[in-house]
């Protein structure tokens, strides 16, 4: 197991290398050279030459890449073109809100979606199953910003239970964190709950048709235990797959949700950096998000082996 883990972690390194190469190439593929992008339209040739020399842009590309990579590995992500602050610092300050939002969303979603899916599978074909699935379809097909504004309208403006906007970190004030994080979490969870509930239902249903479920019935195992103990664990692999890829898709939802609720997180930083064409910032954000994707994939692969003893790499 440990050997497998070590091998898998080692395998992520070349992937990260390729990502870094692409990110590096991005800046050089953009129209004009990086110096003219950085200097802006109004820069004089002298200014451009000065920037080129300062950034080492007159060196061969391979050398530039290695230099750039070395700096990143030392934590030096460069300066933002826009704010002229260190990129690492900018990202660091935005990490907390997004991370807490993502963790809360995944937790809430799994706690809601898996029981929902299992229940629907167990009551397959009945009214309760159809209701659950109708809710799931609705949740899946409603755009994130509609859910967000809808929740704000009902629970903030009408009921007045939650603040309309803003964010307080958990470390600063746990109570205020809960009040500010609840609506964004619910917003972000809707799609995710729908996705996971549906895959849970269909995987559990499929397993319930297997021979060993018949064996379990033949030995007098109660129905609830059949569903929870025999079916759910066997259904785990497809569920984990969807939970993993869903978590990756969450990033898109994070951008919208942070904008709707005015949360100073990474999602908004992504939007801001793209609009400002802040290339060093974009590069770092892509690298960071790629790393997150890779880590999620790694976690999914490791979870497979936990749930299914037949999967041994």
């Amino acid at each position: 197991m440990l050997g497998y883990l070590a091998r898998r972690v080692a395998m992520t390194l070349p992937v990260m290398g390729v990502v870094a190469l692409i990110v590096f190439a991005l800046l050089h593929l953009a129209p004009g050279d990086p110096a003219s992008i950085m200097a802006g339209d109004a820069a004089s040739p002298a200014e451009l030459a000065e920037i080129r020399a300062r950034l080492g842009l007159d060196a061969p590309l391979a050398v530039q890449f290695v230099t750039w990579l070395g700096q990143i590995l030392q934590g030096n992500l460069g300066l933002s073109l826009h704010s002229h602050k260190p990129v690492a610092e900018m990202i660091g300050s935005r990490l907390g809100p997004t991370l807490s939002l993502a963790v809360a969303t995944v937790t809430v979603s799994l706690l809601v979606a898996i029981p929902m899916g299992v229940y629907a599978a167990w009551r397959r074909g009945r009214l309760s199953d159809r209701l659950v699935m109708a809710v799931a379809v609705l949740g899946f097909s409603t755009p994130v910003f509609v859910v967000g504004y809808g929740l704000i309208y009902l629970l903030s403006l009408k009921a007045g239970w939650f603040p309309v906007q803003g964010f307080t970190a958990l470390t600063i004030d746990p109570i205020r964190f809960l009040r500010t994080a609840t609506l964004p979490t619910l917003t972000l969870s809707t799609v995710y709950i729908a996705l996971v509930a549906r895959i849970t239902r269909s995987s559990v249903l499929e397993v319930l048709g297997e021979d060993f479920v018949r064996t379990a019935r033949a030995k007098g195992v109660p129905e609830a235990r059949i569903v929870l103990r025999h079916a759910l664990r066997n259904a785990a692999v497809p569920i984990v797959t969807v939970v993993g890829s869903g978590a990756a898709f969450l990033i898109g939802g994070v951008v919208v949700t942070e904008s709707v609720f005015n949360i100073p997180g990474l999602g908004r930083l992504v939007v801001e950096s793209v609009l400002a064409r802040d290339y060093p910032l974009i590069q770092s954000l892509i690298l960071l998000l790629s790393l997150v994707y890779i880590l999620i994939n790694l976690a999914v692969d490791v979870l497979y082996t936990v749930f299914d003893p037949r999967i041994r790499y």
């Binding site: 091998r7 080692a10 395998m11 074909g125 297997e210 021979d211 060993f212 018949r214 064996t215 379990a216 019935r217 033949a218 030995k219 007098g220 195992v221 109660p222 129905e223 235990r225 025999h230 664990r233 066997n234 749930f307 299914d308 003893p309 037949r310």
Partner: protein, 552 residues
Amino acid sequence: MTAPAPAEVLRIEGLTVSLKATGQPTVADLSLAVRAGETLCVVGESGSGKSVTSLAVMGLLDPAALAVTAGRITVDGEDVLAASPEQLRRMRATRMSMVFQEPMTALNPVETVGAQVEEVLKVHGIGDAAARRRQVLEMFASVHLPNPERIHASYPHQLSGGQRQRIVISMALILRPKLLIADEPTTALDVTTQRQILLLIRELQERFGTAVLFITHDFGVVSEIADRIVVMNRGRMVEIGSRDDVLARPSQSYTRMLVASVPSLVPPERAPGGGSEVLTVAGLAKSYGQTRGLGGILRRKAGVAALHPTDMRLARGEILGIVGESGSGKTTLARCIMRLVPPSSGSIRLDGTEIAGLSNAALRPHRRRLQIVFQDPFRSLNARMRVRDLIAEGPLNFGVSREAAYARAGELLERVGLSREMLGRFPHQFSGGQRQRIAIARALALEPDVLVADESVSALDVSVQSQVLALLRGICDESGVGILFITHDLRVAAQICDRIAVMRRGEVVETGTAAAVLAAPTHPYTRELIAAAPGRGWNFAEFRAEPQAAAL
């Protein structure tokens, strides 16, 4: 006859089970009884309703598809059909148990087998954890599992088919139920394993006085274990009686037909035929590489030999049987010869042309000359294609005109015993036997020199099986195609093959004429295989016991 008859454990009266959708009965007006210590065999072909009957007794019918519409089932005096779901649940494993056909899928793949057997005790509220574990280990010893402690902690995929079936039997019998229903429990196993499992069921039955309802399609097995036999056909009971009555003096023509269809282990007299050599295999070997290390990229370990260097000859108009148990390499050999998998080394000469080393492009013109008929007629035909196109596809690929190919498809369909009018139909409109005929027609359409039949009759009922065997023999004699006939069933091999090669662990251990191999085997493994073939104590064709061969 002074001793009172043992108590009736299972009694079925006037049972009718109907399809919910159409109301059509799949089992109609069935009555039977099984006494303690007795084995009642229910025999029938597919669709006879034998499995539905067993599931009805267990209360395990799919409630969405099937419903009991009439009759009464009592197990150990308790009415199964009137029981509440909770009562029924408590009866399972304590009064009635079931062993299923497929030991590969009957166990939960993600839990240890020990936990799964312990679960029986747990859900019936027996013992504490330590006592349960002890009892399971004892049970594993009773079913002769080696090293019970290690097995207890194993997952199903780490065990062999025979071991898994022993686990399922442990599960079924650990609470000493009065009734054991065994639904084709040995059909998926090799003959030598089958023999061990049959012996085990008998041993436990004698020890615990269990009544056994044994469902099977195999008259060989029936002749060895049955006290009484029920013959079923299309949901109805055809005949019931003692083993000797049904096998030796069947009163119904359907039973006579079934019993007489069981292929004999004695090959029929056949003139030593065979023309010129069409296929010569020399030193053919296949090993599968196992890779490990960084995602399989870096290190490559030594391979597993699926086929050791093998020599083989096949003449025109000859049927060469390749016989062996699962994992013996017979399918690997066939696939290498077909070049469906690339052989690791060796030579394959097809009518003088060496094809082992040809590139795929160079091989293409020779593909026509090697054709195959697979085991499962339900999956080997493209469900979206009409029969006409299925048969004509090969010739069209090789440049035959559409009219000519379609005309030939009609001829071939008639040759395999179907009618030309069926050309426009789809595979699902045919029975298993008919589909296998279509698969044969498809293979013949390219006028091959060599036809590989890979377990081509194994999925068919005995009565259909004998017809398809006769068809293959006729085609071979008529067209002179050489047939490699792969089978695990010695009876089938005896009936159709001129010569037989016996394989074990990737090696041919014995080759000879069918009569020589079956009557005077020289290799101990061949002798073991023949000894394990069920029903050697019975001559089915002549409806009498065969005293010289020892029964189980």
